[in-house]
Assembly symmetry: C2
Homo-oligomer: 422 residues x 2
C-alpha cells in the first residue's frame, strides 16, 4: 500500500497554480495574491490630525499651562480639504480628524483644551488655548505605517478584508490574483437517488454530490456542475465529456475492483489515471490522474465518510495549490491534542478519524463522532465533525487521554465555548 | 464611557434571527439551521455489505478453517440492486460493497478468502470458502449510526459539508435555514477616492468600502450595495433611502462630533439612533440604532483600523445572531495567549490590538501588527492581522511573555506552520 504522503506528493506534483489575472479590488476578496504587493504610496499618505482641534505652531502654545494663549484662527480645515493656509506666529487653523496639517503647523490642540468646545459652531476669529500639548501631539506622520516600496502582502497571501484595506491604502486599485479552480463533481452509483426522493430496496440518498460541492466551495473552488450517474461506464464517459471546461473533476464511488465499478472500468489500463491503494482508513482505494483535456481527476471512494476524509487529505491540498497558496498552507497541518475516548484503529493503516473537537483549559480534545469510530458508513455523524484525528498505522488502540494529532477543518471550532468575550 | 459588553448587549437585544425559509439541500450550504433536524430514516438505511465478497449463512461456513466449504452461488447483487434472493442452506450470493444483504444471509466472506478472487469475472455457479469469517463480519446494520428520530443537527448548526451529507442520508431533501442578512455598506468622507484613483492634497484611497464588504461576506452576510458619499448630510440621506431593502446598513466615518460629520448631523436628536462613547481603543465613537424601514444601523469610526475592530466587536455578532447562530458562537470568544512583544496601552479603555498570530509548542503568541500598536491609522499593517489581543482598561503596559486574551478571526491561522501533515 502507498503511504498517504507519497500519494499526496504525487497529487501536488501534478497540479500548479492557475494563471493569475488582474481584477479590481472589489472583486479580489478571498483569493490568493499572485506576486508580492508593495506600497505605491506611503501610509499614511499625508501628515494629518488624529483629533478634532486646532493646528498650531508648538512654540506659540508651549506656555499655555502657565497662562492661556489666544491665537488668531485663519482657516477651517475639514477632512479631505486641499487647504494649506499659511500660519504666521500666533495663527491657528481649526482642523478635523483626518485632515491634512498646514505646512506651517506641527501640533494639534484638542478642542477640549480650548474655549471653543463645540465642533459644530461656526469657526470663530480666535481661540484660547488653555493647556499646552506636547510637540507633535495628535499628528500622524507620513509613512508612519508603511513607506513607499514596503511589502504590503507576499505572494500566496489570502485576500482577507484586512489585506484589501492595506492594498487599497497602499495605492493599488487592482490586484493580480489566481483564479478559483473550476470543479465538476460527479457522484457515481446506481443505488443513489436525489436527496429527499423515495427509495426502494437497495437505494440510498445521494449525500456525496452536495457534500463534495460544499467542500469544494469551502476550499475556495468554484463548482461548475454537479452530476449523478449510475454504474454505467458509458454514462460516466458522457458526464466526463461534459466536464471539459473544468480544471478538476471529482468523482465519488466506483473506484474499487468490483464488477460494477464504472470508474475502474472507464480508466482501466489508462496511462493517465491510476488506481492506488493508499495506506489509510477509511479511503484506501483512490483514483488519480488527468483527463485528455488536462483536467485533474480524483476518484474518491463512494462512502460519504471515505469521500469526506479523502477530500481533506488529497483534494483540498490540490485546490489550495492551484489557487497559489504557499506550501505551508496547502497541507492541513496537525496540532497536538488529546483523545476524548477509547477507540480501535485498523491494523497497518493510518486512521483518519472524523472527530468532535472541544477545547478546555488550553487542551484540544478529539472524540470520535460515533462510538463505532472511523467506519465509513457513519454518514449521519459527519454532522459533528470539526476535524479529524490522525492515528499512525502502528497504533493499535487509542485510549482516552492519549496524545493524538488533530487536524482542524473549519473556522468554527468552539475554542472557548461558553465563555463570552469581545 | 460605555463598557464594550454593555454596548454589545444593546446591539444583540436589538437584532433577532431572520425568518427561516425552506431550501433544497443543494442551496443550503453555509447557513444556520432554523430548527432541530431529526432522522426520517435510519442510517444506514439497509443491512448492507462493507466488502466485495459473498453473502452467506454463517452456519454453512463456520468450519471453513478446518476444510474448505463449497457453496452454490444463486445470485449476483450489485450495489443499488433490489434483489433479495432466497438462500437455502449451502447457498451464497455474490455481493458488492454497499449492496443490501439477502434476508437469509447474515455474514460476508470477502473475495480474498474464496477461490473466486477476480471481482470482474462473470459470476460462477459455485464458490469455495477457504477461511471462516466471524458471524456478522462485514455487515453494516440498519441504524448502526442513527435511528429514525435521532437528532442529526440542532437549531443554529452551521450547514457544513458534513452536516449536509448527514441531513441527506437522514432522508431530508430540504432544510429550513435562516437567510443571510442583506447589508448595505456606505463609506462616508469627502477625503475618500476610489482605490487606485489619483489623489490631490488631503485625499486618500477608500479602504473601508471593500474592507467592510469583505468582512460582511466573511460573517455570512450578503452585500446588497456598496456606496461612497462625501461629508454631506443630504448625500448620506439619499444613500440611506436607497438602502431600503437591506436588513443592516454599515456606515463608516462621520460619527465623531466634528463640524463635518454627516452621520452625526443626520441622526442628531434622533430617537432611533444614538451615539455612544465606548470604552475601547480604537473604536470609541459608535453610532447604533434602527432606520425608519427597520434596518439596523451601525455607524463605525472612519479610520480603517477602527472600523475593522468595531466590525469584529459589534457588527459581526449582530450578523451571526441574525443568521440564527447559537449564543455561544455569536460573540467571538477569547483564548489564552502570550504577548510576543512589549506594547503600550491607552489609559482607561479596553485595547483591541490587531495582532499577528503564531503557534509554537502549543502556545499562541500575539504580536502587534505594527510597532506603533493599536493606533488607528496603521491601515497597511492590517494585512498581517490574524486576530486581535484584548487588553483590559486597567493594564498600562503589556510586556513580551505576558498572558493576554486573544481573539482569532480567521480560518487561516498557521497553527503549526512549517509542519506538514495530512
Amino acid at each position: 500500500m502507498t503511504p498517504i504522503s507519497d500519494h499526496l506528493d504525487r497529487v501536488l506534483a501534478t497540479v500548479a497554480p492557475l494563471p493569475p489575472r488582474e481584477v479590481p479590488l472589489a472583486d479580489a476578496w478571498d483569493r490568493r495574491i499572485a506576486e508580492p504587493v508593495r506600497a505605491l504610496v506611503p501610509i499614511p499618505l499625508w501628515r494629518s490630525s488624529s483629533m478634532d482641534g486646532y493646528a498650531v505652531r508648538y512654540d506659540d502654545v508651549a506656555s499655555a499651562d502657565d497662562a492661556p494663549v489666544t491665537l488668531r484662527v485663519v482657516a477651517d480645515i475639514p477632512a479631505g480639504s486641499d487647504l494649506d493656509p499659511a500660519l504666521a506666529p500666533g495663527d491657528a487653523a481649526r482642523i478635523m480628524t483626518g485632515a491634512v496639517l498646514p505646512t506651517d503647523a506641527d501640533t494639534i490642540v484638542q478642542l477640549e483644551h480650548t474655549d471653543r468646545l463645540d465642533p459644530l459652531a461656526p469657526v470663530s476669529e480666535s481661540v484660547e488655548v488653555r493647556r499646552a500639548p506636547s510637540r507633535g501631539l495628535f499628528v500622524r506622520g507620513i509613512g508612519d505605517d508603511l513607506a513607499t516600496g514596503d511589502l504590503v502582502a507576499g505572494a500566496g497571501t489570502l485576500t482577507t478584508a484586512g489585506v484589501l484595506a492595506a492594498v487599497s491604502s497602499a495605492g493599488h486599485g487592482t490586484l493580480r490574483v489566481h483564479r478559483a479552480p473550476r470543479v465538476t463533481v460527479i457522484a457515481t452509483g446506481s443505488e443513489l437517488v436525489a436527496p429527499g426522493e423515495p427509495v426502494r430496496r437497495g437505494q440510498i440518498p445521494d449525500a456525496n454530490s452536495l457534500m463534495v460541492a460544499a467542500l469544494v466551495r469551502r476550499a475556495g473552488g468554484e463548482v461548475d456542475a454537479v452530476a449523478q450517474v449510475g454504474d454505467d461506464p458509458a454514462e460516466l464517459e458522457s458526464a466526463l465529456a461534459r466536464a471539459g471546461g473544468s480544471d478538476v473533476v471529482v468523482l465519488t464511488g466506483g473506484v474499487s475492483a468490483g464488477a460494477y465499478d464504472p470508474v475502474k472500468q472507464v480508466f482501466d489500463g489508462s496511462r493517465d489515471v491510476t488506481f492506488t491503494s493508499v495506506s489509510m482508513q477509511p479511503g484506501k482505494p483512490q483514483a488519480f490522474g488527468t483527463l485528455p483535456g488536462g483536467a485533474v481527476l480524483f476518484g474518491l471512494p463512494g462512502n460519504p465518510v471515505s469521500a469526506w476524509v479523502s477530500f481533506h487529505v488529497f483534494v483540498r491540498p490540490a485546490l489550495l495549490a492551484m489557487q497559489g497558496a504557499p506550501d505551508g498552507e496547502v497541507r492541513l497541518a496537525p496540532v497536538p491534542g488529546r483523545a476524548g475516548a477509547d477507540w480501535g484503529t485498523p491494523p497497518g493503516r493510518t486512521q483518519i478519524l472524523p472527530a468532535r473537537l472541544s477545547v478546555s483549559g488550553g487542551v484540544l480534545t478529539a472524540t470520535p463522532v460515533h462510538a463505532l469510530g472511523s467506519k465509513s458508513h457513519l454518514t449521519g455523524s459527519l454532522a459533528l465533525a470539526g476535524g479529524y484525528a490522525v492515528v499512525p498505522a502502528e497504533v493499535e488502540r487509542v485510549q482516552a487521554g492519549d496524545a493524538v494529532d488533530v487536524v482542524l477543518i473549519g473556522a468554527d471550532l468552539p475554542l472557548a465555548a461558553g465563555e463570552d468575550g469581545v
